[in-house]
């Protein structure tokens, strides 16, 4: 109730801020140079959006006089670095990329995020061109966490999408897959039809890393991480077991060997080198596959929204399960939060949004989706896939009632690996659910 109140107040507050901006009175007066001479340090993941943002730093420095040192790291290292620096109380990390669903609850409770809400509402600190109300409403809702805005979303949160090879599907007379059954049938046909030269599908299998892609399959098959009303662990069911076994067996039968060690870097490598007919993974990777210098399948890739299962109707229209923003965050420990905010708002503006979309990402801003350049440049199949996907809320990478999500994901990841190895998935699932329930119980006892 109180949360809902805060949300409304917040929305009203931002709306009036935007109203002021629209009046244009301050537009010309916005002072970009108030922190000239500042030096900021940024740590992000090495991935397409960071590269787009990094390419704009020279312009930013010219505009503001602020210099930026930007580190782009592989996924595991980036995650560790952000945690270790904050743990050590480092005050010289100003801005970092963050995924709220994965670590946000811990970060927020530890004070590692600066709240951007008062910054957005302050016309002295925020350029009118930033236009917070241009963000897709679902994206703005997802960015709100405990009444604060810890992360400025850089993309529309979406379910993973299905990438498929149009040339192979045509060759074998297959239709664009609509259901998980279609996916399995196509994987079999192509794997056997190419004499096992092309894997039917590539999926993540590296324990914890797989759970975020696996979550929609779990829900589509009728499983669920938690009971929404109580937050209790609810994935030790026959429906959930079906989902885990589907994931494990399709990889075992038609997927690349060694799937249990495959993270997104491995599966996108396999797909971009033409070794797999399908890939179910994050939408951002279109940038890799469409680039002929990085991919041997450029021009051959088709896109489909997350296929459906028997229980898809039951959950896909649900409101957000939890805060789920992904994007740049200002460190709560930074000593230069205002200068950092100048950088974050600059990199979250419509220019970045449009460039991101033109590279195949899902822009977080409404104006980008109708931009004539975007509509003209993008594959209609991709635009449709993006639009459908952005309208579905993710059920979360793991049981979101648990604060220590990393631990929960490792525990569940063990079951994913067991399923891929063809081991006793039922026992492993029961054990994982028991461990998560115990973890939740301990956390609840401590939070009081």
């Amino acid at each position: 109730m109180a949360d809902e109140m805060r949300r409304r107040l917040f929305l009203a507050g931002t709306a009036s801020g935007i109203g002021l901006a629209a009046a244009g009175a301050r537009a010309a007066a916005f002072d970009w140079r108030r922190h000239t001479g500042a030096k900021l340090r940024v740590v992000t993941l090495k991935f397409p959006l960071s590269e787009i943002q990094q390419a704009r730093l020279a312009d930013f420095q010219q505009l503001t006089g602020i210099s930026v040192q930007w580190e782009m790291l592989p996924e595991d290292m980036w995650r560790q670095k952000v945690k270790v620096e904050h743990l050590g109380g480092s005050t010289d990390l100003d801005v970092f990329l963050s995924y709220y669903v994965q670590e946000g609850a811990q970060f927020q409770q530890s004070g590692w995020y600066a709240d951007a809400k008062p910054l957005i509402a302050n016309p002295d600190l925020t350029n009118p061109g930033f236009a917070w109300d241009d963000f897709i409403p679902a994206v703005r809702d997802g960015a709100l966490a405990n009444g604060q805005v810890p992360i400025i979303p850089d993309r529309a949160a979406a379910l993973p999408i299905l990438y498929y090879r149009r040339d192979l599907f045509r060759q074998f007379g297959l239709e664009r897959p609509k259901t998980w059954d279609d996916v399995r049938a196509a994987a079999k046909t192509i794997y056997e039809g190419t004499n096992k030269q092309v894997f039917g599908i590539a999926l993540r299998g590296k324990g914890a890393a797989a759970t975020s892609m696996f979550a929609p399959v779990l829900y589509d098959f009728g499983g669920r991480w938690i009971d929404r009303a109580t937050g209790d662990i609810a994935f030790n069911t026959p429906e959930a077991l079906n989902a885990f076994e589907w994931w494990g067996s399709i990889l075992r039968e038609y997927g690349p060997p060694g799937s249990a060690n495959n993270h997104w870097a491995e599966v996108t490598g396999i797909f971009s080198q033409g070794r797999a007919a399908m890939l179910f993974d994050d939408i951002t990777f279109i940038t890799i596959f469409a680039d002929p210098t990085k991919s041997t399948v450029a021009g051959k890739v088709g896109y489909a929204p997350a296929p459906t299962g028997p229980f898809s109707d039951r959950w896909r229209k649900d409101p957000p399960y939890a805060p789920n923003a992904t994007g740049l965050a200002i460190s709560g420990l930074s000593r230069q939060k205002e200068a950092a905010w100048l950088l974050v708002q600059y990199l979250s503006d419509p220019v970045s949004s449009k460039r991101y979309m033109l590279q195949g990402g899902l822009a977080p801003r409404q104006s980008t989706w109708t931009d004539p350049d975007v509509v003209k440049a993008l594959d209609p199949e991709f635009l449709e896939t993006g639009r459908v996907s952005a309208g579905i809320n993710s059920p979360g990478t793991a049981p979101l009632s648990i604060v220590n999500i990393a631990k929960a994901r490792d525990i569940i990841g063990e079951t994913v690996v067991t399923a891929i190895q063809g081991g006793n998935t039922k026992a492993s699932l029961a054990s994982a659910a028991a461990q998560c329930a115990e973890l939740l119980k301990q956390e609840r006892a401590r939070k009081t």
Binding site: D76, Q80, K83, V84, L87, A105, Q106, Q109, S110, G205, K206, G207, P256, P257, G258, S259, A260, N261, I270, R275, V403, N404, A406, K407, D410, G413, E414, V417, T418, I420, Q421, E443, R446, K447
Partner: protein, 289 residues
């Protein structure tokens, strides 16, 4: 006046170094012990004193014991293989032949390479679809393996990397030992008609025992606390199949941000390493008597 100074010199001069050592080693150790007795988990407020609670929790935890077993498995396998291989290489290099200096240099190369960099190369070689190891297996007519992606084979595969890395170290010390052996026992054995095998087991090994123990001590400590190779190649996976105690402690402290429990695991682990070292040092004392 000078007399007082002289008397205190033995304390005064080493004092800065001793203070530095205390600051760099004793303080972190004491602090780790201190937080291992607290509930110190980020995301939860308050630090409560839990005493030995974390130790009891660890000792009752299956994942902890799994990690402990894997640590032992890895250590025994890696120490045995690297010392055996190091011995073979040392015996070969102990003979003079053309190109021996070159061979010595070549054998030492793995030891000087950076573990993280070579681990990345090994990771590529282990790749089941693209790696060179499966291609090599194919050449000799063996079926492909998934190497580090198979829970049963991940530890032996990682041991392979560790042995490749550290066998030259064993070789280096053993070779120095071999060079220092007197020639006369071998000459008289040869006159008495002993075979090479008999000479190795009856003369070389017993005389080399003190050196062998030194190698075993170093290799055991190294293998117990191996981190970089495992972290880079598998990060403890698939699942927890290559999670050793060190990786387990790291995950608790820096992945789950449970610093109290992670510290307790590290303290237990330090005790294991210290115990192993003491055992070996005892054994060495006995051999040298």
């Amino acid at each position: 006046m000078t007399g007082t100074l002289d008397r205190h010199l033995p304390i005064l001069f080493p004092l800065p170094a001793a203070l530095l050592a205390a600051a760099l080693m004793l303080y972190p150790l004491a602090y780790t012990l201190f937080i291992s007795g607290q509930s110190f988990e980020l995301g939860f407020r308050g630090h409560d004193w839990v005493g030995l609670g974390h130790y009891a929790e660890a000792l009752a935890n299956d994942r902890f014991w799994g990690a402990a077993f894997r640590t032992l498995y890895f250590t025994v396998l890696s120490v045995a293989l690297s010392v055996a291989l190091g011995m073979v290489m040392a015996l070969i290099l102990n003979r003079e032949f053309r190109g021996a200096p070159w061979a010595r240099t070549a054998f030492l190369l793995p030891m000087v390479a950076t573990p993280v960099a070579t681990s990345l190369v090994w990771m590529l070689m282990f790749n089941p679809s693209l790696g060179v190891l499966n291609w090599l297996l194919g050449l000799v007519g063996l079926p492909p393996s998934v190497w580090v992606a198979d829970p049963n084979w991940v530890i032996p595969s990682l041991v392979l990397v560790d042995v490749w890395h550290f066998a030259p170290f064993a070789m280096l010390i053993l070779l120095a030992g071999l060079r220092s052996l007197p020639a006369s026992p071998f000459e008289s054995a040869m006159i008495d008609g002993a075979t090479r095998w008999q000479m190795f087991w009856r003369i070389t090994v017993p005389m080399l025992r003190p050196v062998l123990l030194v190698v075993l001590i170093f290799r055991t400590i190294d293998a117990l606390k191996v981190f970089d190779i495992i972290w880079v190649i598998t990060a403890g996976g698939p699942g927890f199949s290559s999670e050793t105690l060190y990786i387990y402690a790291y995950n608790q402290a820096f992945k789950y941000l449970d610093l109290g429990y992670g510290s307790a695991v590290i303290v237990l682990f330090t005790a294991v390493v210290a115990a192993a070292s003491l055992l070996w040092i005892r054994a060495r004392g006995r051999v040298w008597q």
